[in-house]
Amino acid sequence: MEIIKREKTGKEGDFRIRQLQARDMLRGDLEGDDLEQYVRDRVITTTLDRAANWARGNSLFPATFGLACCAIEMMSVVGARLDIARFGFEAFRASPRQADLLILSGRISIKMAPIVRRIYDQMLDPKYAIAMGACSSSMGVFNNYAIVPADKFMPVDVHVPGCPPRPEALMYGILKLRSMVHADPSLGWRERYDAERTVEVLPAEGEELLRRETAVNALIPEDTAGA
């Protein structure tokens, strides 16, 4: 996570001048060159992409997906001491269709793994997954027949170690994900799903292909049964 320090331009009396300028602006008294200078000082120009990335990163909706002990520490992150709402992530959505961050907090048993995969499939792109704790990243404390690490069946973006990780550690992982999203929200999905050099499928031949090869819950155009 990088912290970019911006130097303070201007001298002591600048604040008072800015205050008076703002007062004039509100009254409608600022005109001409003064107005132009005022506006130029306050507008950030950027590309639409970067603005959209900034907005995406600051409003991730995590899915309520607590599995085991790490879920309790995830709840601590939402609590008042380590407020996740100051980053904009307090809207935990219950439905995976509305969420874009899956925090796998806890051990994933072999009975639960297909269900986790199904929930991950139900989320809409761009979607991210954080494997919180040792059990979901690797096998954790329990290296045995009953659990499976998340990397075996779904792509994970950030692994947060710990058993359970402190809320501060989870916060660090979430912020790392946030800065990754600011850089590039898709996080390289083409490499991840091995979809390099794929071509767009045209509707005529594509329908048949879609019908045969897609997951159960994909939208097929013109097929509105059960919508």
């Binding site: 690797s138 096998m139 290296n143």
Partner: protein
């Protein structure tokens, strides 16, 4: 806890009522245990209920591998009036692992007997709904037997990861692990 003489008296009374039920008694660290024949579990628990042990707290299984008979089921009884605890133990061999179920008279044993079935393979005759409870329905094997392998993933050291051996899946749905295991 019934002390050692009390335990012997209890076992004697039990023998008077049901002749071949009791196989042995043990008194270990201040707590008594009665070893019984598997077929008689229902009568024994009814007898103990009459003697005040009206609460069944736990039904759990043990695998005594390599001793025979291999599978054991233990019942923890509690007497709330006299503040007593008593264990009832039974052993069944692997080739005939059936025990009469006590669920009809003691509803608390429902999930617990299912767990013993799931983990050890002990079949409880007369159980209303005997199926796996903790493992997936189509799982094969009984995990907590002593000869069931513990399983797990090989530990992924960063040295191995740099050499290209890891267990994540590649695009062809096959593990990316290199042929030679380290």
């Amino acid at each position: 806890m019934p002390d050692a003489p009390g335990l012997e008296l209890l076992a004697q009374d039990l023998r008077d009522v049901h002749a071949d039920a009791v196989v042995g008694t043990e008194f270990f660290r201040g707590k008594g245990a009665i070893q019984i024949a598997p077929a008689a579990i229902d009568e024994v628990l009814a007898f103990l209920r009459g003697r005040g042990f009206a609460h069944l707290m736990s039904v759990h299984g043990v695998d005594y591998y390599p001793e025979e008979p291999r599978l054991g089921v233990q019942y923890e009884m509690l007497d709330r009036e006299a503040l007593d605890r008593l264990t009832v133990k039974l052993r069944v061999p692997l080739d005939a692992p059936s025990v009469p179920s006590v669920t009809p008279k003691w509803p608390t044993a429902n999930h617990q007997e299912r767990e013993v079935y799931d983990m050890f393979g002990v079949v409880f005759d007369g159980h209303p709904d005997l199926r796996r409870i903790l493992m997936p329905e189509d799982y094969e094997g009984h995990p907590q037997r002593r000869d069931f392998p513990i399983g797990g993933e090989p530990v992924l050291f960063t040295v191995a990861e740099a050499a290209g051996k890891d267990y994540t899946m590649g695009a062809d749905n096959k593990p990316k692990r290199a042929e030679t295991e380290s």
